[in-house]
Amino acid sequence: MNLSMKWLADYTDVSDITIKEYCDRMTMTGSKVEGWKELGAELSGVVCGRILKIERHPNAERLVICQVDVGEAAPVQVITAATNVFEGALVPVAMDGASLTGGTKIKKGKLRGELSEGMFCSIAELGLTLHDMPGAIEDGILILGDVGLGDIPVGADLVQELGLRDIVVEFEITSNRPDCLSVLGLARESAVTFSKPLTLPPVKKPSPSADGDSIGNYLKVTVANTEKCYRYAARVIKNVKIAPSPLWLRMKLRASGVRPINNIVDITNFVMLEYGQPMHAFDYKCIDGSEIVVRSAGDGEQFVSLDSIPHTLDSSMLVIADAKKAVALAGVMGGENSEITDSTATVVFESATFHPGSVRLAAKKLGMRTESSSRFEKGLDSENAMPALDRACEMVELLGAGEVVNGTIDCYPVKKEEVKLPLDADVINAFLGVSLTQEYMAETLKKLDFGVSEDLKTITVPTFRDDVRCMNDIAEEILRMYGYDKIQSTLSQKARPTLGARTERQNFDNNLHDMLVGMGMNEIETFSFISPSWYDKIRLSPDDSRRNCVVISNPLGEDTSVMRTTTLPSMLKTLGDNYSVKNRDFKLFEMSKVYLPTTSDKLPEEPARLTLGFHTPKNDGFYLMKGYVEAILDLAGVKGASFRSVSTEPTFHPGRCAEIYVGNTKLGVFGEAHPAVIDTYGLDGGVYLAEIATDALYEVRRAAIVYAPIPKHPAIERDFSFVCDEAVEAATVASAILSSGTLVESASLFDIYRGPQIGAGKKSMSYAVMLRASDRTLTDAEADEAVSAILAALETKLGVKLR
């Protein structure tokens, strides 16, 4: 809402307050100021002059020399190239030292040898448009007589005279205060904020016309949908003379950011700005059947709005219709078919209130949020409709725009009820943590137009304050005028103590987080929504269950249209993005969620995921990734994890991918990205990924730490090298060794060798085996026996032989 400070001054005088202080204090009492600007601040030194004489410039064909009376003893000489000037014309003259729009400074000087003591101005140079100055021309000098300003005295300061200077304050009004989307509403707030008197203009009812004509001769109004239309009031104006509005009105609209059109339309806009009640004017001759029906639109009903845009309506929308057609979309915009034109002779003024949600929905569906709809959608006061209509009629008379026909139509089936609330200073003081008297509270509310009972214990909420319905609301009214800054800080002395602690799960996640950073990984944050095409990029088959995802019905774009079911594509994209800008040698992790659909009317599951990813120039990172995975399992205290080779994960290299299991619980998958995936993301070399189900990991964690004694007796270490088929997995060999006897404590693989001595399709694996008994020092004989058992086990179970 843009507020003209000149307009505000009509109702309350804050002239002794600087604009900065005005803005600051209005913000602090709840009317937030976004900013302010000074209109016409650059303009100075422009006076009204009459051209006395025009002569050709002796040295320039296209210039003329004018003698101009500017109210001084002698005329001044002005040279111009303008062709629309004539002797006797009244024009704006920028004198020596004047300043114009855009900061142009005017200096006297010689033009082709002749003195020019000033410059004539166009409307643009005065910061005006054709809408502000109807009748003027754009590419010439403003002839004041052309725009109805022929009676300005010669020599008068035009900046003053035309009212070009004003200060406009831009308010950001919150949705609960539609009453402040008006000059009167802001005047009320200003008056209370600065303890100034508020003088509201007494509205003069139109004088009854002598001819006995009455609105009944013109119009019948039926409200067919009383659910969505609370009040519909109308008046008729006859003998309308469409003309530009007077300058003062145009300047008020201009300062408020509304374009002047003509007197009738300007009146409706003026009243909307002043009272906060949007109005509409119909051309009576376009109302078929002399009747107005407020009804629901038909499904598929066609309607062309004032701005010539066609719309298809549906039955959720409310229209103002005549006997045949819709003439306005209620509360949003009028129709082109009943627009005020220069030939309009009779006008119907509408002042109505509608269901806020219905207006909001219609405006949203049709993509036409207007000044009007943005007010109606917040809920307007039905009691305000009639004063606004009266004001419009008064303006018609004031402007001589037409004759107000006797009588008002007012469909107002359910009168708005008065709301009374208790006022209890003790309750409010205890709630806010302040100590104010009942009298202070009552006085503050009175200034805000609340009614207060004699015993000060009951208040009546003004009809324009639908937002005040309970104690909290009253407390806020009092507090904002008392000052939010005067509340004393306290620390919940009355509240019971609570424990501030992370849960076991939160600590688990934090430990994981800390460890990953400690292991040299950088954390990333990627969006939860992705493009469904990203599933193609990671090679998911068309029937992969991960393609079944939560779909956003109104996404910003394809790229953010579905909630991810896997974090791998986001990690790959991040690796690719970094690679493309030549970032090298880093490892990434992300702790986030995926979103797995359940049924359409239920929320999806949101399991947590830990994702790891890095790139190496050569394809040598599998065991490094496995090292990270094992470190994570180790920190979580996971016992008995196993790794199963899997060739069916489409994103991964079929021979370099493993699933992580504890018992039958799958904890995740890791491995080398499939070469086709690597290509898709513009990477080369090897890319290694892991996606771990953090929730499952948490479930199999070691919950409690119980110490195991350190062995008292020494171990005997024996190293072996075995030859076996390539297909034999290290884990199988290790488990055969470990299960061969009770003395085997551990078996660590320390070398794998392939070469001609071993033979094709074979490998040699070297293990260091620790043998230990918990109750005695082993003898060599015992160790030899254990070794024999190991060799026997390997040979019988796996056909593996000592090298």
């Binding site: 009355k494 509240a495 954390e523 956003i552 019905s553």
Partner: protein, 337 residues
């Protein structure tokens, strides 16, 4: 014999006068089993007892002197050798170190951790909630019915008519209140979604932290005291806060909360755009309708709620001028935290 001993002594000490003397060789020559001194001692049996004692003493003294000298020289030689070795091992300490890389927390995680720790210290627990949420919890329970104009300020991504991506962390408030008997003292950080196109100051996904306190006798002064304590911990002891009246459907009274600029201290600078204040929070007393919707009697209990944007704090704290950097995850950016 005496002369022989004196001669041995002289010769030995002479040979041992050079610091680089071959000690082992000399030890064998003079003191070894077949050494010169041993030879003299062997001949002592022929002497008269009187003389034997005297010569014996002399011989021992010579042996001791030689031994001492050898030992001394040996120490010196060892020390010299070590010195030489150490000198040889001198490294160029300006050559860069090898191999150890640390990772970094994402700046958002750093800020979130700091926020959590402050509120944990004030007795809050941390609660999580679903990001894909029912319209009911995101709006209706929070006093924002369908078609409420406040919905326009939070352009929301919808999944179905009744399921959406939460546009705020506030639905967690409603979920906690439904399940918990006061006292309630929680924070809830997490991802939220609004359909804002990506630019330097907007992102369709960002993080908020919500706070909620409900008990008997909670006042607006308590809200102010809490946020003041938070602001001082987060931005420095000298930080002041300012409440400005505002409107949120789920709190009443409501306030926007500014902190005094932590760069200029309130005198005005580039960070605070000359204002001296920076808006960081929305807060207020929980609306009685919200309490009622969640099964808490507003006659018995009152409480406050607040919410802040984690991105906003990260941008301010680290002087980041473009929000997109937070989600681009360029390693050159991430390595700075």
């Amino acid at each position: 014999m005496r002369e022989t001993l004196e001669k041995i002594k002289k010769e030995a000490l002479e040979a041992l006068s050079s610091p680089s003397a071959q000690l082992e060789e000399l030890r064998i020559r003079f003191l070894g089993k077949k050494g010169e001194l041993t030879a003299v001692l062997r001949g002592m049996g022929k002497l008269a007892p009187e003389e034997r004692r005297e010569i014996g003493e002399l011989a021992n003294s010579v042996r001791q002197q030689i031994e001492q000298r050898i030992e001394m020289l040996s120490e010196q030689q060892k020390a010299a050798k070590l010195d030489a070795k150490l000198a040889e091992e001198k490294l160029d300490v300006t050559v860069p170190g090898v191999g150890v890389k640390t990772g970094r927390f994402h700046p958002l995680a750093l800020v979130q951790r700091q926020l959590e720790d402050i509120f944990l210290g004030m007795g809050y627990s941390i609660v999580d909630g679903p990001e894909v949420e029912y319209d009911y919890y995101n709006f209706q329970a929070l006093n924002i019915p369908k078609d409420h104009p406040a919905r326009d300020t939070q352009d929301t991504f919808y999944i179905t008519e009744n399921i959406l991506l939460r546009s705020q962390t506030s639905p967690v408030q409603a979920r906690v209140m439904e399940k918990t008997t006061p006292p309630i003292k929680i924070i809830s950080p997490g991802r939220v979604y609004r359909s804002d196109a990506v630019d330097a100051t907007h992102s369709p996904l960002f993080h908020q932290l919500e706070g909620l306190v409900i008990d008997r006798g909670i006042t607006m002064g308590d809200l102010k005291g809490t946020l003041e304590m938070f602001a001082k911990r987060m931005f420095g002891e000298q930080t002041r806060i300012r409440f400005r009246p505002h409107h949120f459907p789920f709190t009443e009274p409501s306030a926007e909360v500014d902190v005094s600029c932590f760069v200029c201290g309130g005198t005005g600078c580039r960070l605070c755009k000359g204002e001296g204040w920076i808006e960081i929070l929305g807060a207020g007393m929980v609306h009685p309708n919200v309490l009622r919707n969640c099964g808490i009697d507003p006659e018995e209990y009152s409480g406050f709620a607040f919410g802040l944007g984690i991105e906003r704090i990260a941008l301010l704290k680290y002087h980041i001028d473009d929000m997109r950097l937070l989600y681009e995850n360029d390693i050159r950016f991430l390595n700075q935290f």
